[in-house]
Symmetry: C2
Subunit: 277 residues, 2 copies
DNA sequence: CGCTGAATTGACTTCGGTCAATTCCTGTGG
DNA sequence: CCACAGGAATTGACCGAAGTCAATTCAGCG
């Protein structure tokens, strides 16, 4: 339990956490499980009573179409909570597949629920993180709905790079992409044939270098500019979170002032706050 | 404050709420504002320190592309929380436009945050609702990325119908659609020209009748079947929510108890639980 | 060293976009 | 009550980005 927890690391990226919040996050994560590249963690429609926190590696979530197609909905990286989709039902809304060798911590839904009670501020923060992921998906929708193939692929590469960079500490522009062109296409709504052609164009334009599974984006700034890419994950606002403090004044209505004047984050001196890390 | 609140109504659709939870929700919503059809509530990029709850009418959220295009990300109906996207930043990630004449209640972000502290169970429920909306957007992504124009339009109509039905108590298959074909196209990634053609095909196939702004879906069941449509909003699981009640029983696991036993919600037996409504 | 799945490439098709001309509606003002 | 203006919808002719099909080529691997 004293180990570092990926979810803890992720959340403390946005907000200095108290010791007790950190403890709670660490103790949430249970059994660790390993998956090989390509292995399926949960099938679409399968019942699940747990979430998974990514401790290493990465994955994607996808749905199967009646007609035989497939849509890759999003990718999951270290620190991400997966299968949050399924929390709204008892069963998974998507198939979760390991893209690379992966370690996951299991997190029972019940325990996740308890977190909201025991650490409301974390609950609110999780809501905020979820909102930022929602926006990231909106960006994807925009990309797929309103831009051409080359732009979609470029945007996807930039997105994956920026996510991997945080977690894997990549230098900046080179990374391994263990996805087939079919996978890429399923993510952005293109056929594998056209993915191949689009990548070729990007390579010939000198924007991207490829060597096997290794991708290098030659000028991240410029490419981002060109396709109007925005990183939605680096920052999540926390100024609206409830003060850390003691339960409060519980009594709902009456007035809706915060219990103690201080607002924002950690308000309570008893709880030492750790540096962001 | 004693009036019915749309958010309250929405949430109690999924879970019987206690009096104090209801009170809290009612007292959250402040000034009521009216917007005419077509009016813009918030601009993309604009700073906001509030959310809006839809009390009547409907709206959509959209983003503008550099090249001049537009993507309509989603629609908002009575009881929906809007601009949750923006909670992750200080500014709105999308433009919010009234589709029909609309009443909104303003809800300051701070007050929203406090809700997580004062009523953790509602916080968790809001997370669940948000997850279901996330899935709805994933469905849209799948539709846009992987199906043809006719299917996209049909799916969109079914989606709008099923949302309106809940709130406006529509009979079942006929509703008013105050959107231009441009709007429809921006929602599903088609040009207005092709929207016109797709609607024509649907009409000629006898699947949809049109009369001005009035749409009638002739056999909802069949059309849903044809395009594999699923309503993602009617149900949200609540079995994982923390018990309303008393803090404690921190059971969790022996060790990591929250710092102070109390916290979380005011839990006492005094709070009667109301039937679903 | 051969197998197998992935990637590449070419020829051809097609769905949806573009452009532009009508037509339709609806609201407005005479 | 009617004429008219202007946006929305419809329709046709044409174009082009991406899909389909299929044949190679390539790369990793037992």
């Amino acid at each position: 339990m004293p180990e570092e927890s990926p979810l803890e690391a992720r959340l403390s990226q946005h907000l200095p956490l108290t010791y007790s919040e950190r403890d709670a996050l660490r103790s949430l994560e249970r059994r660790e499980r390993l998956y090989q590249a390509g292995e399926i963690v949960v099938h679409e429609g399968e019942e699940t009573d747990k979430l998974y926190v990514v401790a290493s590696g990465w994955l994607h979530g996808s749905v199967q179409l009646k007609g035989g197609g497939r849509q890759v909905l999003r990718f999951y990286f270290v620190g991400d909570l997966t299968t949050t989709f399924s929390i709204a039902w008892g069963r998974s809304a998507a198939t979760l597949t390991a893209v690379s060798a992966t370690t996951l911590y299991e997190l029972p839904r019940q325990a996740f629920g308890r977190l909201f009670r025991d650490h409301p501020r974390l609950g609110a923060l999780l809501y905020g993180v979820s909102a930022s992921e929602h926006v990231a998906m909106a960006d994807r929708l925009t990309s797929v709905g309103r831009t051409d193939g080359i732009t979609r692929i470029a945007t996807l590469l930039l997105d994956i790079r920026s996510r991997l960079r945080v977690t894997d500490g990549i230098d900046g522009a080179t990374f391994e992409l263990p996805l087939t062109q079919q996978d890429l296409g399923d993510a952005v709504g293109l056929t594998k044939t056209h993915v191949s052609r689009s990548l070729k164009v990007l390579a010939e334009a000198g924007l991207v270098d490829r060597d096997g599974k290794i991708i290098r984006i030659n000028d991240v700034e410029r490419l981002s500019q060109m396709v109007d890419f925005q990183d939605r994950h680096s920052h999540v606002a926390t100024d609206w979170l409830p003060p850390y403090g003691s339960n409060g004044a519980g009594e709902a209505n009456g007035s809706s002032k915060p219990a103690n004047g201080s607002n924002g984050a950690n308000g309570d001196i008893r709880h030492q706050v750790l540096p962001a890390e």
